[in-house]
Symmetry: D3
Subunit: 246 residues, 6 copies
């Protein structure tokens, strides 16, 4: 399933018909109940038979490769050039946190139960939560608490610490709100919106000076789009602009 | 105007009579209505006549230089060695956000309307907002939302996400509060206050270890100021210390 | 006392009987009243007699060494491999902030008074506050304000900006809550909890890509612990797991 | 062809039967004559018909994606977990330099002609030479000269500046030497050899402290291999050790 | 004089008539005899009268500003977008090393005497040598030796360690060779040559991955120049291409 | 022995009577024959008895701590504030390389045999060689070859690639030369020499801009030493200056 997720987002990233992506969970009960631990641990070692033959140094190589390819699947969402809005509801545990951290915006319904669950199964979260969560929310102490205790937290707390942007009464409301936000993003110049995403992701990982420099180089091409003229003209003429696909 | 802004802040930075700077907007309606797009786009290309002759690779060079020199003007506020308090009111769009992000403290009046407006005119903000805003407020998802939708937001929301430090009834109140804060900063040792600004700016862009090391080297000189003795003595004698200019 | 603090935390870090650490202040009045300035300034210069003989370049060397060894003492708390929960109450000024910033979680009682006090004694805080505080709380402008004005702030404000995780009625309540949180952390796999701490600390100072890579390498060994099997089995059998010391 | 190169090296990277890779050019005349410029430029834009419809901002997006996927193909050689020895002969221009820079060791025959050719076709090399070459050879001024003049250089000069490790009379000799070196590497513990490659690549891009830390974490698993015992025992018994595949 | 140097290079950087710059010393005896120490130390402190009034903390602020503005002057050579070839002869001490390290290529005459002279006047070189020299030559131990002993070294040694690209019989020969190299660079596409300089400078200070990414973004605009077509067409038609100014 | 090495260098670092350090090997046969593997592997696991009880995840924790404390011992040489000259002769294998890479200058006698020996005992070198060697010598391909083949190399090759600064006929000659160099360094201002060491080490791990900034801050204190006046005055009076201890 995770390999498929990667393929889908790699494709959405360059499909000119796509301008924004909503990522939500099927069914009423859960966004995701977390990793199927048994399947994953088998995946790591290529099935039970293989394990016995390897020394811990060689098992480590298999594990590292496995974790890396799993991380790559999830990272495909972050690398998607189009904005991604993640809608969460119900149980959103473990991998649900890893996955949602790669989206640009997170919203949820009131009934959502979040949990950085991994310590409860004997491991430190390794598919991205421990790397991305402290860069998404402001309170580092809160990140440490929920990650080291596996304490569940609700929608209101997620809103207070800035993990989600807004909370809605029910899943359907949250999905509607996400679609509305996606439609709004899709109505803007795709050059502008996708550039904004890229520059914010770059800036997260670089100094202010490197951020400014990269921005200038990026926009030296992007500003040559006809979207700027289209937008300005529409503004003067007080009509809704139409932008070419990207 | 932006070149002038740079000159002024370069000068304030080293003027020994200045201990704190308040940056606010003239007039009742707006802190800044954003970039005069027409003027800027002409500036980028050296006027209309010039454009036709250049290929996109050469236009990109002009644009990069133009964006860089614009960024430098704004960055002069950040580089100013004295603390800068920015007071916003009314319309605070586009460049108003870029500019205020370079101040140390932001406060505003209740009526302030903020907007990362750039996607509405077909471009990704390139004068600093996308680089600095995620390092100023804690919720990365919120930054992405307001930057990719150009959704306006008010004073209360700006306060909630930590973009502004406090909100006042009217512009005049905000200016008074800023002056009070500036006077408070100006009453402290300028060696201490300016060092604090520098060390916080350095730490934003470096690891904890690099931050600690730089701090130690910085203070190996700064601690030799007579301000420490002045401050301690005044404390013992329960009177207000007076510190030399810097 | 600070050298002792370092020795204690170096020892707690590797003592297999320790799974979580609570750091609180003795007595009812203060977590810490800040640095004993007189003692420190003497320490810096090796006593008054020594100062006169040295030129400012040589004094700077002494000061840099002194600050560095002071920083190292405080950093020992951050480097402690076990989770550290800091409980604050009453006066928590100056070094109290430096110290608490190295803990993983901060909680406090309602009566706590915080202050980044250093500018009041003529210096920029150099034992870690200016480096760590902006990475702990989300609002950079707030950090600048409290650091450049030395304005005290209370428990509620500390909670609002994310400096503390929760506020309790009295010191005793806060200590109880810390113990409860520590017991909870101690009941989980120590491989998982200590790995989580390490990976979060690494991620704070590195790019997302470096964070993911380091996580994969770290877990390539950690996942080979028997704690994973212990945790999964206990889950299936609905009983509380017991994990070996670490 | 480049996509195929990537697939091959992705496969070699994890194929347990492979312990070292020799990369050389077919035919007597050239290691590689450089990029087929016409094909590449068509590839960039998806064929001629597509170009006319796009504005320079949108063309830039296509170009960036194209360059990135080209870079990824070449980078697959660097990411290959097994050591790669590159043998060059005859004409080794443009992409030949990009490609060889991703190998671990470069050797060549006396007749090799090297050239960072890109400025001669109007572009700055973008498939890796400008990024990797200055980290491979010691003289930065030499890198600038050959990159900004497109001046060809021979085997002796390549040896003097440290671009190649050794020079052989003819291509066949160089290939033999490469095979000998590959066989030598393959006779060592694969855990040790592949770890060495990884740690050197990591160190190139990180500070000494980050390098030491990463090394310690890496080896905390790798040292648990049975290869250490195998190597030590063989040493004592003065026989050639045999190491399991990896 | 240094302020003038900065203005000149800032101007050369954007003057479309300039495609390459040769930097050499006037007169037969010296490229530069190093800093006029007396003048510099007065400059640092704004003249003798000013010094007495300031405490060491305040003197440090003046010194830091002075060093920074001096560094900025020298850095202007590095930031010049056109390639800079530095020709050295005779005495090339102290600031001569600082300055030449900012050029892209260094060549010299046989009689050149180099010296990182600063420790002989009681200071660590602070105008760039200690920062740039280890990134220019391959042998870090050699850099340490010549910087910590102030041992002079000659042209042959400078060539051996890669500090200069080539050595000529006399100053006139070196200047001729520099002009020839400059003319060669000037005959290439300025988009390509200036892009090459920028990308090499960026790569020196960034990881390979950041280098590749920046390169792709840079070239997404640069590849749209008509210079590529001009170069290719000239190649097919076997004539010398002419490129537009930049 | 390694813990002792650390204590000695920690002490030399701050002992005002020490101005330069020579590090050489006792006896005629070897600088160091490399790690006593048996002792080390026992050290890692706290003796044989302990191993059986631990799972691979817990063994990894012990190993990581052991490697880290070993690295710290070696790093003490690099952190020593005084210049360190390492003299090698005879067998200089394994840890001899790790150790010598932390010195500032390396010289050797003609008979020296170097070897990055670790892959021969089944492990990737983890006490510093793989991190520091590529930053010391210019040819990255050469580093990869000798590290992945464990091929020994002699003094001449070490000189050619820049690993050692010079080669002497016999150990005694090399020691004499080192003492001469040490005496020369010791005759200069210790503020200048020690500052030069620090700034070069900082620059190795930072961008040019960060290097320039740090240098300016460092020298804002260091330039206030009386050594500058002492050096200048002695120069004018053509006599040998005497500098105070540091």
């Amino acid at each position: 399933m995770w390999l498929e997720l990667r393929q889908i987002f790699d494709q959405l990233s360059v499909d000119p018909n796509v301008r924004a992506v909503i990522l939500s969970g099927a069914g009423p009960r859960a966004f995701t109940a977390g990793l199927d631990v048994k399947a994953a641990s088998q995946g790591m070692l290529g099935g039970k038979e293989g394990v016995g033959k390897l020394d811990p140094g060689r098992i480590a190589v298999q594990m590292r490769r496995h974790v890396a390819s799993f991380q790559d699947c999830i990272t495909a969402v972050e690398k998607c050039e189009k904005p991604v809005i993640c809608v969460m509801h119900g149980i959103s545990y473990g991998l649900g946190i890893d996955l949602s951290c790669t989206a640009d915006v997170r919203i949820c319904s009131k009934d959502t139960q979040f949990c950085v669950k991994e310590v409860d199964i004997g491991l430190a979260a390794d598919i991205g939560t421990l790397t991305r969560l402290p860069k998404i929310v402001g309170s580092y102490g809160w990140v440490k608490e929920v990650s080291m205790t596996a304490r569940p937290f609700g929608a209101e707390e997620a809103m207070r610490v800035g993990f989600v942007n807004s909370v809605y009464e029910a899943k359907a409301d949250a999905v509607s709100a996400a679609i509305e936000m996606g439609v709004l993003m899709a109505s803007k110049s795709p050059i502008a919106v996708q550039g904004t995403k890229e520059l914010l992701n770059w800036s997260r990982d670089h100094t202010v000076q490197d951020g400014l420099r990269y921005t200038g180089v990026w926009n030296s091409a992007a500003l040559q789009t006809s979207d700027v003229a289209t937008a300005l003209l529409s503004g003067l003429e007080k009509r809704t602009p139409t932008f070419e696909k990207l």
